[in-house]
């Protein structure tokens, strides 16, 4: 995807407790076929940061994601790619 998860609006919260990072995230659809890849990427990327010892990801469905949650940068990226948003 040409868009990052923050601009897509699927990251709901990130908390850091002395190197244990907890992330609340959702997917754009319950049937998201890329969900495992996304979870792997989030864990792998955060563990590359200095001081991060452990990553816990909570998949949440409330509030449900909608296109309203995208940032302007996210919209621009998807539009440049030919997707109507």
């Amino acid at each position: 995807m040409p868009i990052n998860l923050v601009d897509l609006g699927v990251i709901y919260d990130v908390r850091d407790d002395a190197g244990v990072v907890e992330v609340d995230l959702t997917f754009t659809a319950m049937g998201c076929p890329a969900s495992e890849f996304i979870l792997d990427d989030v864990r792998e990327r955060l563990l590359r940061e200095d001081g991060v010892r452990e990553v816990r990801v909570n998949v949440v469905w409330n509030p449900p994601w909608s296109a309203e949650r995208m940032t302007q940068a996210g919209r621009d990226a998807l539009e440049a790619w030919g997707l109507a948003v």
């Binding site: 076929p33 890329a34 790619w81 030919g82």
Partner: protein, 314 residues
């Protein structure tokens, strides 16, 4: 319609062709042929992948498999839709052609029977598709197709990722899982190498290159494929029958077996001691492989049954 000389000038200038009125009949014929190969390849990959996707090891993996199949059907639709705009009948192309007249790589005719074989197909067959379509996307002189491929390329990346991630995971699991992966690679690697067709020294002339329907020769595309697949397999500890050599300062990928050689489709086994000729390969391709008729029937039969029952008013 332009004269042959006018058309030749347009092609050489690097301009894009946007409408049928700008084409010569020869260009139109070659463009349609290239689109049929592309559409048929994407279409037939759906039943080919479905057999194996049903064996997914988790619901999430099954969803990924099904999403890939959905992408492939959409990619087929893009090619057939353009063919329709160029005057072909999409319904006839898909539902009324003889199975043997479909133009797709022989590899899909050999059954993919496990999740492991599906992910190797995603890693190798989709990589072949990525090279072929990437080249068309880059060089194609027909504007509508070139632009349609923007999204196709992005989606093919997802298939490659599924292939590579799972191949690595299965290899790391070791034991019988890794053995199964190696066996799948053993028969699927040479089929993918064959995918790119006749070597350049046997293919005298390519109209597709003249018309800029593609930009790279068969051997160039094959080298591109080898340069991505061989290092990745080596990196995850899977053996492949090819290695890199440096000739005159450039890297060349060399096969460690006679190319082409004999393949037993029922046993899914290559005999590297038995070199064959390209005429033999072409004869095998023309005869098609084990799943050809069954896969085409999978979408043709129900279409005709549905038509018949609706006509009878049931």
């Amino acid at each position: 319609m332009p004269t042959a000389a006018e058309f030749d000038k347009t092609i050489k200038s690097g301009e894009l062709i946007e409408a049928q009125s700008e084409m010569t009949p020869e260009y139109l014929r070659e463009l349609k042929h290239t689109l049929v190969v592309s559409g048929d390849t994407e279409l037939i990959s759906a039943p080919a992948y479905y057999l194996a996707a049903k064996r997914a090891p988790s619901i999430n993996a099954f969803m990924t498999g099904i999403a890939i199949i959905q992408d492939e059907l959409a990619h087929a639709h893009i090619a057939y839709h353009i063919l329709e705009e160029l005057g072909e009948d999409q319904e006839k192309l898909i539902f009324s052609r003889d199975p043997k007249s479909f133009r797709y790589p022989y590899a899909f005719d050999v059954p993919l029977e496990s999740w492991t074989e599906l992910v190797v197909a995603n890693g190798m067959y989709d990589q072949a598709g990525f090279c072929l379509l990437g080249d068309i996307h880059d060089k194609c002189s027909y504007g509508p197709w070139k632009r349609g491929l923007n999204k196709v390329m992005a989606e093919e990346n997802f298939h490659l990722r599924n292939g590579r991630t799972w191949m690595k995971r299965i290899s790391q699991a070791g034991g019988s899982a890794k053995d199964e992966l190696q066996r799948a690679v053993d028969w699927m690697f040479p089929l993918s190498v064959e995918w790119f067709g006749l070597p350049d020294d046997l293919k005298m002339h390519s109209t597709q290159l003249d018309y800029r329907l593609k930009g790279l020769t068969n051997d160039q595309l094959r080298q591109w494929w080898l340069s991505t697949v061989v290092p990745y397999c080596e990196q995850i500890g899977i053996e492949v029958p090819a290695h890199k050599e440096t000739k005159d300062g450039t890297d060349v990928w060399v096969l460690d077996y006679p190319f082409p050689c004999e393949f037993d489709a029922q046993e899914k086994r290559w005999d590297f001691r038995k070199p064959i000729t390209w005429d033999d390969v072409l004869a095998r391709w023309r005869a098609r492989g084990p799943r050809n008729a069954e896969m085409v029937a999978m979408f043709q039969e129900e279409f005709h049954n549905f038509r018949k029952s609706h006509k009878n008013g049931n």
